[in-house]
Symmetry: C2
Subunit: 278 residues, 2 copies
């Protein structure tokens, strides 16, 4: 298996990269899981094209993910056209990697397909206009996208999710010719990382903060957050990132509404694209 790492099977080293000092007592291990642990987001790509059939392979993996009641609430738009990628980079506030990467996949929560079935079969679909159904469509798209990411990384490709497609869902929908009741939940850059772009595994919260046994228990959370802050401060220094600790990053991201880049309007914007979300 091709992965971005040189020593995929050294479990303790992989866990240390992911957790710093707070290494969890992980059990069974294999090359596949080692590959998953090596995930990092790639924001700098070589111009090299992908092997023929790559997107079809990734979509086969994506379609193999579970889907709620087999409804298959998603579509994917594969984009290689430089003009389109330029516009998408603009929507995303100038993320150059969208222009650089040889393949950009737009993951669409697609309720339009089912709307067409309702019309073609002349049956009213009472289950469509609800938060439940909207949420399931987004989750179906996410499960599919994550399977594609795992497949891409197993082939030695780098990826990064682009949530900023939601900065302007209407412009994105027009650009990609989306019908009403569909929108791009998230984008995904796919390509070969440059040497600098391969980056470093980002530490996560200690398992004790996110994994609970039988009942939710946040008793030690504050101390765990301080330990994680220390790990992230070291990571930030190595990468010259502004927000030193995780806590500071959370405060910056969630404190002021301006950090949402207009996405607080999402509900209204989605209504204009035909989503009711009652």
């Amino acid at each position: 298996m091709d992965t971005l790492t040189s020593k995929p099977l050294d479990k303790q080293a992989a866990l240390a990269r992911r957790y710093g000092a707070a290494i969890p007592a992980a059990g069974p291990w294999n090359a596949m899981i080692a590959g998953q642990l090596e995930h990092r987001s790639v924001r700098s790509y070589k111009p090299d094209p992908l092997p023929t059939g790559t997107v079809e392979t990734l979509i086969a993996a994506a379609q193999s993910a579970a889907t709620s009641s087999n409804m298959q609430w998603w579509s994917a738009i594969a984009i290689t056209d430089p003009e389109k990628k330029k516009v998408l980079a603009e929507v995303a506030g100038g993320q150059k990697h969208i222009e650089q990467c040889p393949l950009f996949i737009a993951w669409v929560a697609d309720m339009a397909r089912h709307q067409r079935i309702s019309e073609q079969e002349k049956v009213e679909f009472e289950s469509m206009p609800w938060l439940e159904t909207f949420m399931v469509a987004c989750i179906d798209a996410a499960l599919a996208a994550q399977n594609a990411v795992v497949a891409a990384e197993s082939l030695g490709l780098g990826t990064v999710y682009i949530g900023a497609m939601r900065n302007d869902p209407v412009r994105v929908a027009k650009l990609l010719g989306l019908p009403r009741q569909s929108f791009v939940v998230v984008g995904l850059c796919v390509g070969y990382a440059t040497e600098a772009g391969a980056g470093e595994v980002k530490p996560r919260l200690p398992q004790a903060s996110v994994l609970h046994f039988e009942r939710y228990d946040a008793a030690n959370e504050r101390a765990e957050r301080r330990a994680y802050d220390a790990e992230m401060e070291k990571f930030s220094q190595r990468h010259e990132l502004q927000a030193g600790t995780w806590t500071q990053r959370v405060l910056n991201r969630l404190g002021p509404i301006r950090s949402m880049n207009g996405r607080e309007k999402l509900r209204m914007v989605l209504a204009s694209l035909g989503f009711e979300i009652r």
Copy 2:
């Protein structure tokens, strides 16, 4: 790598199991992707316990998935207590596999952690009460869960997502001691499939229906749906399922509101759990 299949590297055979006659022109291939293609939901489990450290391994894979702005909007509750699993099976309308499986993971969209940071750090979080933020929390939980599924299957374990946790989010939240602003998006059974439970790969829509190049294009969708209906009808006959075609299954699932099992109330129910979703 352990997988549920005996011939993981036969690409054409794997694609035929997933797509029937509509085999896509997939390119690069490896054992990892072959494993993903073999996914099927498992609804019958042996009582055998899992190796020590299995849940910690699965959560390490889950935490290695991308997370929006590194906000890590999720928690997981690992449940092995038979009494709790019995209640959860009840919530899910009597799905026996929830009681059978040795490990049940409840995937929590957890905005409570960030709410506590807001309170502890005395900074108001203006970005919390929006559809955008709620959706991102659900997607973060989904990406994490899917990485755990891939990891579990690579270890020879079976899984099935349980969306029916949302039949009664309040009862589930009470049972698991969840704080306000957190809820179980989806559950996951994990364990060793019985021989009968291993089942068969379920065919999906032809790639032509879900994968578009540069622009959304549903021009041939109706013919593709008829082809898929024929594949699903054969599958349904082999498995004695009621709805023969996919179209019939879609009509049954989305036509009458009663098939939502009360989940049309999700928005109101989540409001009672502290989610604003403006």
